[in-house]
């Protein structure tokens, strides 16, 4: 994988993008849209590396040491950058400073098999509950509460 690929995406802050990893699955809630997401396998691990700020330069060797049947460098880079673009489109990641962190091992919390194209599963059936909505937030009695600015 080329060392010259600059990746400067960062996950949104935890205040607006709550996320939690368990048994190799990341579940995230975007409080601005009310959507929630599930990421497994390589997608969850990309979340992990983004969170830790690991430089993109290290990603190929990290994935190669954890997954079987890793595609060739160009194909792998295509998968990774395509997923990062997807995160940007979904509004989960934003531009920040370039990732420069050192290599970190992936958590040993799941069985990893063959490489699969990373994907995001989005859900919105709870959006009306999860979204931050200062207009309709209610007080103790169930009446709309006037928010001070």
């Amino acid at each position: 994988m080329s060392e010259s690929v600059p990746v400067s995406l960062r996950l949104k802050s935890r205040e607006v993008l709550s996320r939690e990893r368990l048994d190799g699955e990341v579940v995230a809630i975007d409080f601005e849209s009310g959507d929630y997401f599930s990421f497994e396998g390589p997608a969850a691990d990309i979340f992990w590396l983004l969170e830790a700020g690991v430089a993109f330069f290290h990603w190929e060797s990290i994935f190669t040491s954890h997954y079987a049947n890793i595609p060739g460098p160009e194909h792998l880079r295509h998968d990774l950058l395509g997923f990062l673009e997807k995160l940007r489109e979904l509004g989960l990641a934003v531009e920040g400073s370039e990732l420069e962190g050192g290599a970190l091992p992936l958590p040993l919390d799941c069985e990893r098999g063959s490489w699969e194209k990373p994907e995001a599963r989005a859900h919105n059936e709870l959006a009306d509950l999860l979204i931050i909505d200062p207009i309709h937030d209610t007080g103790e009695d169930g009446w709309p509460e006037i928010k001070s600015k």
Binding site: S18, D23, V27, G53, D109, L129, H136, T138
Partner: protein
């Protein structure tokens, strides 16, 4: 530099977790097993004393050949060496759970006011609880010990422990949610003394739309007992003021294991009531959003803000069953009657 600091904190957090787990489980000489919904938990300790007996008495004891979770207590009197916690000061000072990006796959809470450190390994399903001085524990701990740890365990099987009482009224499973003083426990205990079934007080585990008790004991004030006018359910009238005898209000203990039916198998959730003491009797249905907000504001506070999955499960509860604001008059009989009429429409 921030990344370097994060890496160092990660190493120290992992060392703390591994050290506590190793020392606490190496010390276990006694303990109990209990059910948490369909799973079994082995809770072990070295020292048998009044505190361990109080903790043991808080659960519905059961036996399993291979427990799903193993938790061990580490006490001041046990031989142990804890690493320095100076690196964790930012989270200790803010009374926060250590952030996942530092602690994962462990969950770590260092609770300075209570003198507790709770550590849970989410991969191997083992945990440790360090108790600095039993005298520092809040008296609530004798009834609902280590609430956060059980929430972490429930999270492993997609269960949610809600700060709520629960009752079976006319074959309907009702979750009674609300902060302290809302009347939920008073109402639940009153219903139980009038032939309905008390499932849980203070902490109810919701899993697959079923309600389960977490603890087998309830604690009620003398004022509540006088309101209810019944002492049949009381296991012990021994005053509970805390081991430190610091003048906390006197409470009596109700043993839920005396319930006529076993509730540990789970009771279907049919509705959520948010009681509130009011001059007059009444009720109105809440939107799912209103119910979700109330559930999160009350239940997540108890687990230091909770996590992503906690919020999702509470949203699903709010979406899955109707929720009502129940205005309960000071007259408990009138309140129970109103709730019974409400339940018939659920």
């Amino acid at each position: 530099m921030a990344g370097l600091r994060s890496n160092r904190s990660r190493q120290r957090a992992h060392y703390l977790a591994q050290s506590m787990l190793e020392q606490s489980h190496g010390n276990v000489e006694s303990g109990i097993e209990f059910k948490l919904a369909g799973t079994s938990v082995a809770l072990g300790w070295k020292l048998i004393d009044p505190l361990s007996e109080l903790i043991a008495g808080a659960f519905w004891e059961s036996h399993s050949d291979s427990p799903d979770f193993r938790i061990a207590l580490l006490r001041r009197s046990d031989p142990h060496t804890l690493p320095s916690l100076e690196w964790a000061r930012p989270w200790i000072d803010k009374h926060q759970i250590l952030p996942e990006q530092i602690s994962y796959p462990y969950r770590i809470m260092i609770d300075r006011p209570q003198g507790l450190i709770q550590v849970f390994d989410t991969v191997n399903n083992v945990g440790a609880i360090y108790i600095r001085h039993e005298e520092e524990l809040d008296s609530r701990s004798f009834i609902t010990p280590f609430r956060l740890m059980w929430s972490w365990l429930a999270n492993q099987f997609d269960g949610e422990i809600v700060h709520a009482a629960s009752v079976l009224i006319q074959d309907k499973g009702i979750l009674l949610s609300g902060g302290s003083g809302s009347g939920k426990s008073t109402f639940a205990v009153h219903a139980a003394s009038h032939g309905e079934m008390l499932i849980a007080d203070d902490c109810t585990l919701v899993h697959n739309s079923l309600l389960y008790p977490v603890f087998r004991r309830s604690k009620v004030s003398q004022a509540t007992l006088q309101l209810i006018g019944s002492t049949e359910l009381i296991e012990s009238s021994t005053a509970v003021t805390g081991l430190n005898g610091n003048g906390q209000s006197v409470k009596s203990i109700i043993d839920l294991s005396r319930s006529p039916l076993s509730v540990t198998a789970g009771v279907n959730l049919d509705a959520v009531l948010f009681p509130r003491v009011s001059p007059s009797l009444g009720s109105f249905q809440l939107t799912a959003r209103q119910a979700y907000e109330r559930l999160t504001s009350d239940s997540l506070r108890e687990i230091h803000g909770g996590g992503t999955r906690n919020r999702l499960r509470l949203a699903r509860i709010a979406r899955s069953v109707p929720s009502y604001r129940a205005l309960l008059p000071p007259s408990l009989d009138q309140g129970l009657g109103g709730a019974l009429r409400l339940v018939t429409h659920v």
